[in-house]
């Protein structure tokens, strides 16, 4: 208690870590992206990594705007391609901790292939995917995560494609850390972000967020508050759950938790090991061996 009082701040925890000169942000009232960014700012303050060494890369979409609001070296790239950009950043400077912060359409539809390969390679980066089950920025089109029967502007009579199960995909591609939380699980989300930031390798966090203006309105799910209340009633924390059992159906149960947390050599670890083995003394190693959370 005493310690808390002495270190207590006099401003919002996000103020020092966000570009406050660009507030208010563009997200709708009740949008779930804001809480996730809030938690991210808190995680940045807690993770113990020098802020200069953390870079953030976003794609296109509502969540893609996150890079523009966070006061880090930030890159707002093309649709679907933050992950390969982040791969270039992470490999060229192994001392950086690279975070990809983007939406479900950006990372899993157009960016799906890049996700698969970065996870497979275990490139040292953290991917935070805010899943609102829709393409929000462009007006509410169907996404690969849109549950069956849910309406979107391009599936006006209900979606008839089975949605992707993101944690299952991440685990099967080789991600070393896989978690899912909703925008309501602010403490768990923050802790997960700290774990992912300080972990070596490809870590993935799916954050289920309300999109009241589009997904919520088109499917008569109410406003942001109604959707968060739905998360409160229908989410269940099951750490270590089998990822192939945790699909999300329309108005269905949302299983949250940390599902995978394992160790594996990163892309650079493997590259350095293989090339040193074959080339011996002639090999010029790239980056030192990994320290917690980042390679330097």
């Amino acid at each position: 208690m005493e310690t808390a009082a002495k270190t207590r701040k006099t401003a919002h925890v996000a103020d020092a870590l966000l570009r406050m000169d660009r507030m208010p942000h563009i997200w709708c009232p009740g949008c779930g992206i804001g809480p996730t960014v809030n938690c991210f700012a808190s995680a940045l303050a807690k993770c113990g990594i020098e802020r200069e060494k953390i870079s953030i890369v976003s794609g296109i979409g509502c969540t893609g705007r996150v890079a523009g609001y966070v006061k880090l070296d930030s890159f707002h790239t093309t649709h679907g391609r933050p992950i390969p950009f982040a791969t270039g950043l992470a490999l060229a400077n192994p001392g950086l901790k690279v975070v990809v912060y983007s939406g479900d359409g950006d990372i899993m539809a157009i960016g799906g292939n890049h996700f698969i390969h970065a996870a497979r390679r275990n490139v040292n980066m953290t991917v935070i995917c805010v899943n609102n089950f829709i393409y929000g920025m462009t007006g509410g089109q169907v996404a690969p995560t849109t549950p069956e029967e849910a309406r979107a502007t391009t599936t006006p009579y209900g979606c008839y494609e089975p949605p992707l199960n993101l944690p299952f995909l991440a685990e099967s591609c080789g991600a070393v850390y896989v978690a899912r939380w909703t925008a309501l699980h602010i403490r768990n989300m923050t802790n997960s972000m700290v774990e992912a930031l300080t972990k070596k390798g490809f870590s993935f966090i799916e954050l289920i967020a309300p999109c009241p203006t589009l997904y919520g309105r088109l499917n008569r799910l109410g406003d942001g508050l109604d959707m968060l209340k739905f998360f409160r009633e229908n989410s269940e924390i099951r750490n270590g759950a089998d990822t192939h059992t945790i699909d999300i159906g329309f108005k269905g149960k949302i299983v949250c938790g940390t599902f995978v947390n394992k160790e594996a050599p990163t892309y650079l670890d493997r590259m350095n090991a293989q090339l040193a083995k074959v080339l011996k003394d002639r090999y010029v190693p790239w980056g030192a061996s990994a320290t917690t959370g980042s390679e330097s």
């Binding site: 707002h76 093309t78 950009f85 390969h117």
Partner: protein, 390 residues
């Protein structure tokens, strides 16, 4: 302000190399330490060579999952502080177009190599073409300018790749190296100088302190913003959206004019400093052959034959193809009876020359669909015809 090459990347000596390999050596000599690529004939040997050499020099080669990933991974590497390049051919070049636009918009210095082959579509994967020349300039959407170079030999592949890296750093712009399958796969003597004899243009790091630095405010030559890299505490924001000097998106017409106009003008207004060409026997010529890349090698043969027919013919060969040497072509248009444009496509640079000639002289085209080089006789026939008229 140039420096000399880092000796680690310079394979000094006389070599017997093909154009693809020379290009890889040129990149290493220029200080390139990151290549992301995807296999595509006839360019693959460039990345294979780089991948073999870079572990000894120190750097990274990664074969990405596709050309789209390659063309943006290199930009991540540039913002992390390295010089970077990707290599492809026609179909991959088309895939990379969005990211060439991103590099132009964010002023990311990087090099794109296109070893041209027969097109369109899958075309002739193992055979030459020169039909991507217009695409190099206009291929991405929106208004922007890039620089493109055009080697005609393995030696030039080395030299012009070094030059491409230098131009990309000087103007903070993506630069295309337009090889073709012939130059890429032909073996010739390549002399790689000592590191102290290779001029390298270093990255234009900003001299501004962190509290004054603006990522897109011109700092050098009145046109070029100072560069920084991630990890140095500048907390910069880089976006493909139309942006102001702070790098923040500003979606309005005024910002568009300010932001994009400078991107275009920094090349157009400096064109005369960037253009580069080689002329042979142009003084007093009646006919000027305008050609580039492998086609120029065939055109030399045709010119010799024309000489023995008594035709006064010279050659104008751009080595920097974009920006195009407009001023020089306009000058020549007043001096010659005709231009003969020889290119391995159905007419691309021909339209530039015709536009610049502005009716002052005739302009002829000796076209070719690709798949093999021109027949010198076809070029000769056109030269003679061109000399005969007017």
């Amino acid at each position: 302000m140039k420096t000399t090459a880092d000796p680690k990347g310079v394979l000094t000596g006389e070599h017997f190399l093909d154009g693809d390999w020379s290009c890889a050596e040129g990149a290493l000599a220029a200080g390139c330490r990151f290549v992301a690529g995807y296999p595509i004939t006839p360019s693959t040997e460039t990345v294979e060579r780089f991948g073999q050499r870079i572990p000894i020099v120190g750097g990274v080669f990664i074969q990405m999952e596709d050309e789209i990933a390659s063309s943006i991974a290199i930009q991540g590497a540039v913002w992390a502080g390295l010089k970077a390049m990707t290599v492809t051919s026609g179909p991959g070049f088309s895939l990379m177009m969005e990211h060439i636009g991103l590099a132009a918009m964010t002023e990311t210095p990087c090099v794109f190599v296109d070893v041209q082959r027969g097109g369109p579509s899958t075309g002739l994967p193992t055979l030459p073409g020169q039909a991507d020349v217009m695409q190099a300039r206009w291929g991405s959407h929106g208004d922007y300018e890039v620089i493109a170079v055009c080697p005609n030999s393995p030696q030039e592949s080395f030299d012009l790749t070094v030059h491409a890296f230098n131009l990309s750093e000087q103007y903070r712009v993506p630069v295309m190296v337009m090889l073709d399958e012939c130059v890429g796969h032909m073996y010739e003597k390549v002399v790689i100088p000592k590191p102290e004899d290779i001029e390298v243009f270093p990255r234009r790091w900003t001299k501004q302190p962190k509290d004054k630095y603006l990522p897109f405010e011109p700092e050098f030559d009145g046109w070029i913003p100072g560069m920084v890299k991630a990890g140095d505490g500048y907390f910069l924001h880089v976006t493909g959206l139309t942006h102001d000097e702070r790098g923040y998106p500003q979606m309005n017409a005024e910002c568009q004019e300010k932001c994009v106009r400078r991107l275009v003008d920094k090349i157009r207004k400096n064109a005369e400093r960037i253009v580069c060409y080689e002329e042979t026997s142009i003084e007093g010529a009646d006919v000027a052959v305008v050609t580039y890349g492998i086609t120029s090698r065939v055109a030399y043969a045709a010119m010799e034959m024309a000489g023995s027919h008594g035709v006064k013919v010279g050659m104008h060969r751009p080595t920097v193809i974009w920006p195009f040497p407009e001023k020089r072509i306009r000058e020549l248009a007043s001096q010659v009876k005709a231009f003969v444009v020889v290119e391995m496509n159905y007419g691309q640079i021909y339209y530039e020359v015709e536009r610049l000639a502005a009716g002052k002289c005739d302009v002829h085209l000796v076209d070719h669909g690709g798949g093999t080089v021109h027949d010198p006789e076809a070029i000769l026939e056109c030269i003679i015809k061109a000399a005969g008229q007017r």
